[in-house]
């Protein structure tokens, strides 16, 4: 018996030790290696540079005086499975966006999608949004919403909101201007 243990006992101890590692759910805490200090510095610098370039791009392409941003958001959205949103500004198609499942999930969770960023002159404009997807009872569903708005000096933000109308068991679509 003793002889037999000599053969595998040390290896058993090794495997026991290996099996006694703490378990953490995927993606949870581990100790960062020292080598990533250098990478951290670099990433921080690139992130700052990235921010400046991002701001420069936006200011250059979409100056605040003429900027208009259109956002899509979803509040609950139980009666409507979103496929796509089409945006028309003053009669012209400016965006036609087909949503992926991952994006729709992000909208459900409270994310807001910037569907269009562009330029318009100051004055009165008309914005039409057409929502396409699956409505109650699995039926194809297409609805439009319109807003007339005045673009003053300063960036203009418009939100296209999909909500549920509990009483009618139907989705509702709003176009809302941000103050």
């Amino acid at each position: 018996m003793k002889q037999s243990r000599n053969f595998w006992w040390p290896r058993l101890a090794g495997l026991l030790l290996a099996s006694l590692c703490f378990a953490m759910p995927a993606g949870s805490e581990t100790v960062a290696p020292v080598i990533d200090e250098e990478v951290q510095d670099l990433k921080a610098e690139v992130l700052n540079l990235n921010r400046e370039l991002f701001l420069l791009e936006e200011e250059l392409l979409f100056p605040a005086n003429t900027q208009i941003a259109v956002f899509v958001s979803m509040d609950v959205g139980e009666f409507f499975a979103l496929d796509s949103v089409q945006v028309k500004l003053d009669g012209k198609d400016v965006s036609n966006y087909l949503y992926t499942e991952r994006e729709v999930t992000a909208l459900h969770r409270g994310g807001v999608h910037k569907i269009f960023l562009g330029n318009v002159k100051t004055g009165d404009h008309e914005l039409v949004a057409i929502f396409t997807g699956e409505g109650p009872h699995g039926r194809d569903y297409k609805r439009g919403a319109t807003v007339n708005f005045n673009k003053a000096i300063g960036a203009k933000f418009v939100e296209l909101q999909i909500t549920d109308r509990e009483l009618k068991q139907q989705p509702e679509f709003f176009v809302r201007e941000w103050e």
Partner: protein, 626 residues
Amino acid sequence: MRPGGGDRRARTVATLATVLLLGAGPAAARDAAGLVVEDPHFGEVLFYFYQQNDFDALTHLMAAQASGRVANHDVEAELLRGGLFLAYGQHRDAGKIFNRLLADVSDPVVRDRAWFYLGKVRFQRARYGEAEAALRQVQGNLPPGLEAEHVLLLAQSLMAQSRFAEATTVLDGWKGAADWTAYTRFNLGVAQVRNEQLEAGARMLDRVGMMSARTPELASLRDKANLALGYARLQAGEADQARAVLQRVRLQGPFSNKALLGVGWADALQDNYRSALVPWLELRDRDLLDGAVQESLLAVPYAFGRLDAHGSAVDHYLTALDAFGNEIARLDVAINRARDGELVPALLRTDDPEIGRWYWQLEDMPDSEDGRYLYQLVADHAFQDGLRNYRDLLGLHDHLQEWQDKLAAFEDMVETRAEAYAERLPPVAARMQGVNLATLSDRRDAVAERLTAIRATRDVAGLATADEQAQWEILTELERSPAWSHPDAAEAREKQRVLKGLLSWQLDADYRFRSWQQGHELAALDKALLESDRGMQEVYAARDQVPEFLADYRARIAALQPRLNVMQDTVLAVLGGQQERLQLYAVNELEAQKERLLTYRVQARFALATIYDRADAQVAERGDPQ
């Protein structure tokens, strides 16, 4: 931006904690049910964040903060930025944010989150004592999801300081979400076994080992618990209990090989080598890279030897020697491939570009020779972190290259705008000179003055149309004719009187409407003049500002260009260094595997030689020439 009551803000803060469960749990929760977005740009950040696109989320958040577009979410934005930094591996920046929040914010809800994340940062930096201190500052304002992680992290910090008894106290009796409970029980069991409290640890591990697992992750944890308990029982010499526990491990899975090996050992512990051969022979055809399979190649002939079946023992030792030799040769090829730099790109080929943040899962290992050899390596978090850094750097390099291209386009754009400005300025200036708003304004004033006078005297003819005025003139002119008073003109005078009266009546009847109409048109004129004036001011402002804007853009582009160049070179250099480190890491791991196989080969040869020696000795004893 939106009208939002205090309750809305409270809801936002209360739910933000859920938002900030950055890949922290079995549910990998990033949910924010009830979160009310009060700035669309904050919602946009969340849109990227929920898709696990942390780089874009960070970029948008940093830009939105810099341009003041998330003012209604100032604290939440900072918490989110800190959390994103942490998820992006920027522990130091994350730490600064949480420290600043603790210094500036008195809200206990925010402070608890800041302490929690600060603890997390310190833990990741292996500063366990400081992590513990931060985590102990949490005052019970964390939501359940974070609280679960908080307790687990505190226990881990204590375990890392070898304070198992305290870790046990922290974990003992704690009840959280089912998934977290399983992990917590497992860790508690492990801590207790390590702390030589086998029976207490066994109770915990047994509960995990008997649970029903809803997810592959939990099934894996269950196997792991059974394996740990089984080996602990084996080491305690409790063969029957060990066997029973190890037999609960699934036959297919990352822990099945070790379990089969252990079941064999449980039999061997009771000198039941015939039974031991059953699981050990099952291992024979499995992947030789697994340490348990390699062990089985030695264990099987050893068992045959113990059963005095020396012929079979020799056969199996020879098979083992062949297998070890082949595997060593393949490892040599893999080591050379790793040294040639083919390894890291091969590992990244299976990367999912849709997912910004990812950890290698053992089940998702690339189906290649390299992946097969690096199973153990990729299971190691340090290597995963290195690989993650490498991947992040690659992403940064691509981003910088995109900006290089864009910056060149921006430069062209600015120059084109400058040319267009220079071209358009003279005609615009000429047109502006031709516009005299002051004259127009004077004319408007004259009209207004006239209207005021008409209203003051109720001069109904003053508001007559041109035709009516002409008719009035004709009728009035008749009165000045020399023949007007002639008797023969009596009929004409009568007609003139009637017509003049009619016209006068009409003008009087229309006077109020016309007076209102004129006032209305005057107001419209005022508005038009105001618009024109504003338009002129805008044109003047544009004329003066455009050169300033263009100069500002030029200066910014000129300042960013060299930074971009330097950064690209640095990223490339660090990328190269990181790849070398990963290669070295991989080569060392492969060398260690080879070393282990070489040792096994020596053991097999030695055992074989021993059998041959014994056989020779027996032959010599018997005097048998064969």
